[in-house]
């Protein structure tokens, strides 16, 4: 069966040319002129791939992508844009698009990207992600960053920081790619990655929980909070939960001692934590989170059976 593709663009010419190219490749293509129309279509039908513009009146591309990630996360998305500003591309990448095509595009590029996007299989287990499973858009963004910094002295750490922003973590092949790009030996790249606690070689969950182990937090009882979080998420510091929702990190002082004990989820700081409050905060990020420890869950199970 032919793959079903939805093209979203406020310019009719762009839709027409995409249709022409992709139909000749044998795909089933439909086009809509606005984000709102696209939502209606997407609600009613199933598609394998959405090609969308970013700049559109009313519902723009980012809004559409965000909505789609929530409603139908399995649909693959490729961005077609005339204005690939770093900010929007970064945002789109964070939302999980597979690739982007700059406008105007040649037929060859469009059919190539479409084919790759359809073949790209999302891997269920993040930890085993290999080179093939990193979306090409991420890699080309990474290469762009490497190129930008190439001739600047001392650029390894900034590049690694950007790479971690783009990919989420720094697996060995990413480190190699960066080393090659900057003309630095892989060993040196690895030695820097392993030296700084900011860098991680393991993939993180959807939400990153950082618990502050500063003195003020210690004096005001962060240890109890940390224990409770570890027990309830059933992970240790540095690990990610089984459902890939949360990762847990311990950090040396977040500099928010006035709010001690403190934890940060993604970019938001939460102060005056108690074990109970920490559970409520985590619950905000995952409605299915109960805060129960393994022991409590076992007890509950037992009670149910009785």
């Amino acid at each position: 069966m032919a793959a079903k593709i939805l093209v979203v663009d406020d310019e009719i010419i762009a839709i027409r040319s995409a249709e022409r190219v992709l139909r000749s490749e044998g795909y089933d293509v439909e086009g809509v002129l606005s984000g709102r129309e696209a939502m209606l279509k997407l609600e009613q039908n199933n598609y394998d791939l959405v090609l969308t513009d970013l700049k559109m009146p009313e519902v723009d591309g980012i809004t559409l992508i965000r909505w789609l990630r929530n409603v139908k996360p399995s649909i693959r998305i490729v961005v077609i844009t005339g204005y690939p500003s770093q900010e929007t591309i970064k945002e789109a990448l964070e939302l999980g698009i597979i690739d982007y095509v700059p406008k105007p595009f040649t037929p060859a590029v469009l059919s190539d990207v479409t084919q790759r996007a359809l073949e790209w299989r999302k891997c269920g287990c993040e930890a085993e992600k290999s080179k093939e499973e990193i979306p090409p858009a991420m890699l080309s963004e990474l290469d762009r960053v490497v190129k930008e910094y190439k001739n600047k002295p001392g650029s390894l750490i900034p590049v690694l920081q950007r790479a971690q922003e783009i990919v989420g973590y720094l697996p060995p092949f990413i480190q190699k790619r960066i080393g090659k790009g900057l003309n630095i030996s892989p060993a040196e790249v690895h030695s820097v990655v392993s030296f700084y606690s900011f860098f991680t070689m393991k993939p993180r969950g959807d939400h990153n929980i950082r618990v502050c182990l500063g003195t003020a937090c210690y004096v005001r009882g962060i240890e109890g909070v940390l224990e409770k979080i570890k027990d309830s998420l059933k992970i240790n510091i540095g690990d990610t939960t089984e459902n890939k929702k949360f990762s847990l990190e311990a950090v040396r002082c977040l500099g928010a001692c006035g709010l001690a004990p403190v934890m940060v989820v993604d970019q938001d700081t939460y102060g005056a934590m108690t074990p109970k409050k920490a559970m409520e905060v985590i619950g905000q990020y995952d409605p299915s989170f109960t805060g129960a420890t393994a022991k409590e869950e076992a007890e509950r199970q037992l009670n149910k059976e009785v």
Binding site: G258, V262, T269
Partner: protein, 127 residues
């Protein structure tokens, strides 16, 4: 901003004074919401939003709302400073949306500082 010369610094200072201070700028009141990391974590954004809503609802344009960094007393965040023309500034602490609405009605509109939420009156020492 165009490139500045030494003389421009003084001009900017005077212009700013003329536009953003109560007496010279023609404003009646100025509210500063303190938004450092701790203020934001304690809920300063909600306080700010509530205040802006109140001002919009009241349809007034002689009150300046501005943000600033940490006020120093992290334990009592969110903090805001309310300054009415011809009166010393009053710092309010432990704020929330409800409290700032009351402060808006009582202090900013009616001119009576809300004692129960106020921390201190006046400004800090520097020399």
């Amino acid at each position: 901003m165009p490139r500045l010369t030494v003389g421009d610094l003084q001009k900017i200072k005077e212009k700013h004074k003329a536009e953003f201070t109560l007496r010279e700028g023609g404003y009646r009141a100025k509210v500063t919401v303190h938004m450092g990391t701790c203020g934001i974590a304690a809920g300063a954004r909600e306080v700010m939003t509530a205040l802006l809503d109140e001002i919009a609802n009241a349809g007034i344009d002689d009150v300046i709302v501005t943000t600033s960094g940490c006020a120093g007393l992290c334990a009592r965040e969110p903090l805001a400073t309310v300054e009415i023309i011809n009166a010393p500034p009053v710092k309010y602490c432990d704020l929330n949306a409800e409290k700032i609405k009351e402060i808006f009605r009582e202090h900013i509109m009616a001119g009576n500082p809300v004692e129960k939420y106020a921390l201190v009156v006046g400004c800090e020492t520097m020399y």
